[in-house]
């Protein structure tokens, strides 16, 4: 059974047509299931855990990056996560803006997402963690003044620019390769001087007293913070045009 988790912002009138069209399409494809609206539940973690216990096979995030991020966090921390990893899948139906996570899984729009759910092509992927937060794509921070502690060395940058800690890239034009199956995070530093730094690691610590770390373009967190990779932690339904092999 599918459980569809709708983000609060979808209540706005401008999304009514998209939601109606989506629900008709899901019914036509035989994919209808239970709908849970985030604004109606107090504890997303226990709501999802409950659905998994009741036998739900697929949890579908309907919304944007923020929706996916909240659901991932709830799923991973749920007591029944072990069950989730073995039996239940994560699906995504992107509606509106800020859907780089869906893009990276080859899910272009809501119509596309329905066909992808039906095809049920599954990939087991890594997840990044930044403190108590999780990310599927990347975490970013301003490079100026940032110190990265990796294994037995540190990396510092005094130039303005951006540091990205990448699990799975969301930009097709990006020349750097990322792999959400390799159990490693890619660290990419691009400064305004146009030089580029690249390396991979399983864990690192980030320090910057002046700037916050931005997780999946959704959450801002203070540093110092430890970032780790959790290998093969999630089974996701993906499209043919995903940005990884």
């Amino acid at each position: 059974m599918h459980v569809y988790i709708y983000d609060e912002y979808l209540n706005k009138n401008k999304y009514n047509r998209a939601i109606n069209r989506l629900e008709i399409r899901l019914t036509d494809l035989g994919l209808n299931g239970k709908i849970i609206r985030l604004e109606a539940i107090k504890n997303i973690k226990s709501a999802i855990a409950n659905e998994i216990k009741l036998g739900s096979k697929t949890i579908v995030a309907v919304g944007n990056n923020q929706t996916v991020n909240r659901i991932i966090g709830a799923i991973i921390e749920a007591d029944s996560y072990g069950d989730f990893q073995q039996k239940t899948l994560l699906g995504i139906i992107p509606i509106g803006d800020d859907n780089s996570i869906a893009d990276s899984f080859g899910i272009k729009n809501a119509d596309d997402a329905c066909n992808i759910l039906l095809a049920r092509r599954v990939e087991k992927i890594d997840i990044g963690s930044a403190g108590e937060n999780y990310f599927l794509n990347q975490s970013t921070i301003e490079s100026q003044g940032t110190v990265l502690e990796i294994n037995n060395y540190t990396i510092e940058s005094q130039e303005r620019g951006k540091i990205s800690i990448i699990n799975l890239l969301s930009d097709k034009k990006e020349t750097v390769k990322s792999n959400p199956h390799d159990g490693r995070l890619e660290v990419l530093i691009r400064t305004r001087k146009k030089d580029q730094t690249f390396l991979t690691t399983k864990t690192l610590k980030i320090h910057n007293p002046n700037y916050k770390l931005i997780v999946d373009d959704v959450v801002e967190i203070d540093t110092p913070v430890e970032i780790n990779i959790r290998s093969g932690k999630l089974n996701v339904i993906v499209g043919k045009d995903r940005l990884f092999d």
């Binding site: 060395y153 510092e156 130039e159 530093i189 030089d195 730094t197 690249f198 390396l199 991979t200």
Partner: protein, 134 residues
């Protein structure tokens, strides 16, 4: 000028690239090809190949299989297989190499010693055994 087997182009898909504006401090160790264009202090070691760019400044002992040095190094260099020293290189330390080439204009202040064939065979054997165990 350098061996056809090791050129700057070979480092296009290097495992690690340290850009010009970056400072690395500590013991830096890798398995794959490494490119250093910035500043590194501590120690630098890889089982594969190393390219030190012409703007790079390194204060460390270095060990690699093949190495191209075009920047400044204060420390000892050990290239088990092949070492290419470019015309912009400034090296202040001792060098051990399997094979070497030095371009006109390079500055070297230190001893230059070839790693004996016997020693190299021993190292290669140890490395191969290490890979087999993995």
């Amino acid at each position: 000028m350098f061996s056809k087997d090791i050129k700057s182009e070979n480092f296009k898909d290097a495992e690690t690239i340290i850009g010009e504006s970056i400072k690395v401090k500590g013991n830096f160790q890798g398995q794959g090809n490494i490119v250093i264009e910035g500043f590194l202090e501590g120690s630098l070691k890889t089982e594969a190949n190393l390219l030190i760019g012409d703007q790079a400044k390194i204060v460390a002992n270095i060990e690699a299989k093949d190495a191209i040095v075009n920047g400044e190094v204060k420390g000892n260099i050990k290239a088990k297989s092949y070492l290419a020293i470019g015309k912009t290189a400034k090296i202040f330390g001792d060098i051990q190499y399997g094979e070497i080439s030095i371009e006109r204009g390079a500055i070297i202040n230190g001893q230059i010693l070839m790693i004996s064939e016997e020693h190299r065979r021993g190292e290669n054997k140890r490395q191969a055994e290490g890979e087999e165990e993995k």
